[in-house]
Amino acid sequence: MEKEQIALEVIGQVSGRQIISLKPEQELVADLGIDSPKGLQLLAELEDRLKLEISDEDAAHMNKVSDILEYVRQH
């Protein structure tokens, strides 16, 4: 399965939203209600499912859905 598709699945699961409603420009906290605990859950799930190790620095720059998709594409 495409990496971006998996990422969207994880975002949908953590935010409780349908994948179809997710848009690249959505902000994780403001639009999807992903607070600090959920944000860390999101990172952990992305790591586990995509076999990644996301650095604190990279994580600090992830504010929108598009940031995550971009990261996943490059790793």
Binding site: E27, A30, P37, Q41, N63
Partner: protein, 542 residues
């Protein structure tokens, strides 16, 4: 000294552990103190420590203490987008406590320079820089008077500036004794016979993490297993797995953490983990939800967790940590909230947070300060050797909270059979995920988006909803009724608050100007605002 016991710090993934025995810890602390002295830190200097939970943190904080400087734990920046906001806060803290040392990293210094946070940039010393220093003569073994201020704890202030709680050696040590006495009751006997280890992920800049676990372990020589908050929040099962692995254990957490375990961890992920050795599940730092405790006990019973392990407790940084602890060990007990109680978080029943700890008196007072009998709700006040010495360089704030050795907590509650039940707060404070958030922090961010703050104001408060716990609500006065404009505003506010405070908002209400109740001097009455919200009396424009 406890030669065989020690401290194990997990890496950020919760996989490997760096272990040091207590004697090794002490050697590391002496070296760290020597490095701090070499860079110019002097006794009495305030030293901010901003590191992830790590040996770097422990060495820096303890090293400063060893040098008789005052260590001050500082929460790290959450989000890169919040850098400006965070640096403003740090500049404020540095000024507030007249500090010129900030043990952090090159990244923070870089950000500080970028944003013109000059004081911060100048104060930063990295661990690498300290490690590279040639060591002079070793630091003289310190002798401290019990009444000397040992360290400072930052806490949210009511006027936008963080306050620094001053804690003496006596207060901190007393509280570690009080914690042990409370946690091991009613079994009695020597405490070391009951608990062997403490497993903690709470941040060390938080009172429950610092006093409740780190200083507690140092005082009693328990094995101390430390992991980062992010490690727990990313993979909560790692905490439970560590608890199962490390003998007769004690672990503390706020309610939301137990709720996270209920929602995200399956017993099937904990095969071979025996939680029957988890003797003390200290539950405090925020409102305790009985439904959460019940769900947790029920779900993890199959792993051996006993509901009686739950130990509700109540405290705050101004009391070092613990004011009351459940001593009965019968699990979570509740009582109905007395009729007609205001200032509450819309609770119907409230959890017993136990009896006052060692040498501690608790009384309930009316608004005029008159003590109230059992069963009556009023402000919780406490007096004990654990109570703080005041706020650093803030006589006014100190006078508000401390009178004749009595701490006015700003929390509301009642006593029954000598045990405390918390019903709400007089102070305008939100506690979300165990962290204090002042309403003006939310309001200022919102007003920076609306351009209001003059005559069009905002009011923030929290409501409690079942197992979700406390959540933030914002009421915003607006001129326009245009739904498109309000939608944009809503997004802008949520975005801003999300980035700067990392909080989602349970509700954002737009109302007509004049809907926010205010005193004659224009101060927003947040308690009244919350009540109107709960009663459905606010007219929502959008």
């Amino acid at each position: 000294m406890h030669p065989a016991r020690g401290i194990g710090i997990f890496d950020s993934r919760g996989k490997t552990v760096q272990w040091r025995t207590y004697p090794e810890l002490l050697d590391g602390v002496r070296r760290s103190a020597a490095r701090l002295a070499a860079v110019g830190v002097r006794p009495g200097d305030r030293v901010l420590v901003c590191q992830p939970t790590s040996w770097g943190w422990v060495d820096a904080w303890c090293g400063a203490l060893w040098l008789k400087a005052l260590p001050v734990g500082l929460a790290p920046m959450g989000n890169m987008a919040a850098a400006e906001s965070y640096l403003e806060k740090v500049e404020g803290v540095l000024e507030r406590i007249s500090a010129s040392w900030l043990i952090s990293d090159a990244a923070l210094r870089h950000e500080a320079r970028k944003h013109g946070a000059h004081r911060t940039a100048k104060a930063v010393r990295t661990l690498e820089e300290l490690a590279a220093l040639p060591l002079n003569a070793p630091v003289v073994e310190p002798h401290a008077d019990a009444e000397e201020i040992a360290f400072l704890q930052l806490t949210s202030g009511s006027t936008g500036r963080q306050r620094a709680v001053m804690l003496t050696h006596r207060a901190a040590i007393h509280n570690t004794q009080a914690l042990d006495d409370g946690a091991c009751a009613p079994h009695g006997g020597h405490t070391q016979a009951r608990i062997e280890s403490v497993v903690n992920w709470l941040p060390l800049y938080h009172d429950m993490g610092l006093v409740g676990t780190l200083l507690y372990c140092f005082a009693h020589g328990y094995d101390f297993w430390l992991m980062r908050p992010e490690t727990f929040l990313g993979r909560p099962r790692l905490w439970l797995a560590a608890l199962g692995a490390h003998g007769r254990a004690l672990a503390s957490a706020p309610n939301f953490a137990f709720q996270q375990c209920v929602e995200r961890v399956e017993p099937s992920e904990l095969v071979g983990v025996d939680l029957s050795n988890w003797l003390g599940a200290m539950d405090g730092a925020e409102m305790i939800r009985p439904e959460t405790c019940a769900a947790f006990s029920s779900k993890f019973a199959v792993c051996g967790f006993r509901a009686e392990a739950f130990r509700p407790c109540y405290g705050m940084a101004e009391a070092s940590l613990a004011v009351t602890i459940d001593r009965q060990g019968k699990g979570v007990r509740t009582r109905p909230v007395p009729q007609g109680v205001g200032g509450g978080l819309d609770l119907r029943e409230t959890v017993c947070t136990g009896a006052p700890v060692l040498d501690t008196q608790v009384r309930i007072v009316a608004p005029d300060g008159a003590p109230l009998p059992e069963g009556r709700v009023g402000q919780v006040c406490a007096k004990s050797p654990s109570v703080f010495a005041g706020y650093y360089q803030d006589a006014e704030a100190t006078a508000e909270s401390l009178q004749n050795g009595w701490l006015s907590t700003g929390d509301l509650g009642f006593l029954t059979d000598g045990e405390l039940y918390i019903t709400g707060r007089t102070k305008d404070l939100l506690i979300i995920h165990g962290h204090n958030v002042m309403p003006h922090e939310l309001e200022w961010q919102a007003e920076s988006v609306t351009g209001g703050g003059g005559t069009a104001r905002c009011g923030a408060f929290s409501i409690a909803k079942g197992t979700a716990g406390e959540q933030a609500v914002l009421v915003v006065e607006v001129e326009s009724r245009d739904s498109e404009a309000l939608r944009t505003l809503d997004h802008g506010i949520r975005s801003r608050i999300g980035q700067t405070l990392g909080l989602p908002l349970a509700d954002v209400l737009f109302v007509q100007r004049g809907q926010l109740p205010k005193t004659t001097s224009g101060k927003i009455q947040r308690g009244e605002l919350r009540q109107r919200y709960l009663d459905g009396k606010l007219v929502r424009l959008a």
